[in-house]
Symmetry: D2
Subunit: 255 residues, 4 copies
């Protein structure tokens, strides 16, 4: 139902700048600049209801979405932003049943997005060579309870991708061009390869490798996201924005 | 398998401007500016392989993704573009099991995107008041074979939304502000309402109604998509682009 | 010549983040995080040469342009940014001989840009109602030595614009719509009215007033400026940018 | 005065898509899709007044600005757009008295913009190697009557720039990196070099050459211009826009 239970994750919303994504445990308090909240009091309430801090400030109890979790990851490490993650999943045609290989797990933000889309019948195989990121990603995937759909590997994909007949390979690594022939072997015929890179020099090299490896339907795209100030009498885009995250390069394998 | 079978949809790729999304039927030909292709010859081939037209031009046989279908719909009617559709699905937290109401089916492009994400355990309920769009959407959803996950209604949502405890309501209509209190009733607590509108005047009115109806975590976003020319020696964004599709306004229900 | 003289303004360039726009006076020092510079040592050098601080850091002595002065003003008050100021001057057709009225002097950044373009035969008449901005603008115009081409007025333009047969009226005020009929009287036939506003609600009202007042050739434009990281091996737009400054609305007077 | 005289250029405005920039000559007619206009009838009228075609359609008589001329050039050849031309002039600090070298005259659009800013005491020296462009530019500069402030050269700047102590060198050529050491010689100390290039590969090479030649204060910028639909009840950016023109790279000479 809509009732909040022990061990649930909830997002406590005070205002745009103050949202708290926490796990509900008994006998705990959440301390905020606007007083503390006794977590036991939340258990049994309904999502959408309000809870008061000890000094009377009202927080709305929200059910977190995958986006809320990912933005929480972003506070600690760099992530692929929602605008890019959702676009990547879409061009990859990723949905229930998809078999996906990710190279460069990072914090696991994209891994989690993908896992939430391939379930219940698909799977994400994710390669990471840096142990500290492997550990961070592990924690994050556990937080979202998605390990049923994810195999996390501390392994250099340059030494080979174990999977075959993959629907989509997604790369977020400094040198995607080195992996393209390996990714090609893992992919199904007409399968989709996607690479996310911050610099245009990386895009240039990736394109050359894609062309050499006879990929077709090649695209390079960047998405600019503008968020507005939410005041209906003073509507305007926010002054400061993230003006660049990275370029999305993608293509299809031809045999 | 990867083998192409009768009745499959395939995307035949010649170059960036010439892609053909067709259904494979026996005894048929596809006529193009580069000669015709005998469809029987494709059956039994593998995705990713090439097929020659009668004048020797090579086409790559690709498995279409949801994106390919949607871009095909776009040739006949206006659609919500992939960049917006994928973003909407992401902020709505839509995945296997989600219960979604769509108001304003239009050509069914977003309906299909959503259906491909909620399967196998979720469902999309889509309202349309214009009979001609209802019929177009019906055909499109059938083409993608997604009716198991979609209920299409020729009904004005202003007269009431039949569903309750909905995870996400998505509106693509000229007057979203008129529907917000009705959408609120259908939504679960902390459920997400999303509205897509081309003009900023619509955004203004929608915001006023969201605030009146005590929605929280309100956002207005626009996405600008820049595609590049795919020539590694002459990298540059394309000269002419779609500079605007619409604004995405979204918020959470508080009780 | 190119020789630096006493009382000249110079821009001392260390790196992208550390530039110092100062007036050269005898017996003074400029203190920086990289040591101090004895200003007397700069006098007599050539622009483009280097000067060392007491700890050996090299600064390049540059001749400041109008842009450098304006970016200096920006540290203290809000200004119309170079991208907008230059566009405004261009659509206004402003060059030597132009007669321009500015409503809303602010810090005088745009005033100075305009004055540098109308000289030697044109003139800028600038109206400001807030005394503190009048004083700031006065100082800034003096710094650039442009008072020969500017008349600064502490006066509400709502009470009337004193000038007639004006080539261009430029407004940077919260309520441009209230001034449009008054601006029209001041303008020559087919003269150009330009308004700069941060919110789209202001644009809406301004447009209604322009249409009512029979202006023609009406435009609304926004400019998004993306600066790149200057590393040829890692080319990419900067992560954080100014995503919005304001909308430029402009039109021509018809009689 | 504001009175229209024989031999004047006028802009006849019908609506956003139909504007006619013509020279007023006796005994001539302008033929439009909305009837013809007898040019003699315009002479003696005032700018801002209306003139009727033989079928009663009203056109407003406007004084063209430099922008109108340049957009007229754009119909025949590629030009540097107003948004870029005005920005370039601004960062170059170009105003009355500036001494400017342009390499790559093209159609002369930027040449005219610059000339209109350096007058009456400055000068623009413009180099072009393609004879057909030299001729087009010549005509365009004549149309604007700006030859007093422009020296047009049919000469390859690679063989040397004749001018010294130049305030600003502006390049719009395919290989700016080959000219940078030559441009440096022509520039004053701390003078400004600006290059406009459509591709990022050109920017990369230009940057390497600027760094090698010890230029400082190096920037790369792109400007995205979004024009809105001018309907106050349906405010929105236009659907299709020019998404890319080119990158502006600029820097200062250090000795």
């Amino acid at each position: 139902m809509d009732e909040v239970r022990e061990h649930d994750y909830v997002l406590l919303y005070l205002d745009e700048r103050r949202k708290y994504l926490i796990k509900l445990e008994r006998n705990k308090k959440l301390h905020t600049h606007k007083g503390y909240i006794v977590l036991d009091e939340i258990i049994g309430k309904k999502f959408g209801e309000r809870i008061k801090s000890n000094i009377g400030e009202e927080f709305v109890i929200c059910k977190p979405t995958i986006r809320d979790f990912i933005l929480k990851f972003a506070r600690k490490t760099q992530i692929i932003y929602p605008k890019d993650a959702s676009y990547i999943a879409f061009i990859g045609g990723i949905s229930n049943g998809s078999k996906v290989v990710e190279i460069g797990t990072g914090s696991g933000a994209l891994t989690c997005s993908l896992a939430s889309l391939v379930k219940p019948n698909g799977h994400v195989y994710s390669y990471e060579i840096r142990e500290e990121f492997y550990e961070i990603a592990k924690k994050n995937i556990e937080m979202l309870n998605l390990f049923e759909y994810v195999t996390l590997k501390l392994k250099n994909a340059l030494e080979g991708i174990d999977e075959k007949d993959v629907d989509c390979v997604i790369m977020d690594i400094p040198n995607p061009w080195d992996l393209i022939s390996i990714a090609k072997e893992a992919l199904k015929g007409s399968g989709i390869l996607i690479s996310f890179s911050p610099t245009i020099n990386q895009v240039e090299k990736t394109l050359r490798s894609l062309i050499e490896n006879k990929f077709i339907d090649i695209h390079v795209v960047e998405l600019i996201e503008r968020e507005f100030q939410v005041d209906p009498s003073r509507l305007r885009p926010k002054t400061t924005i993230i003006g660049h995250t990275g370029y999305i390069t993608w293509a299809r394998k031809s045999i």
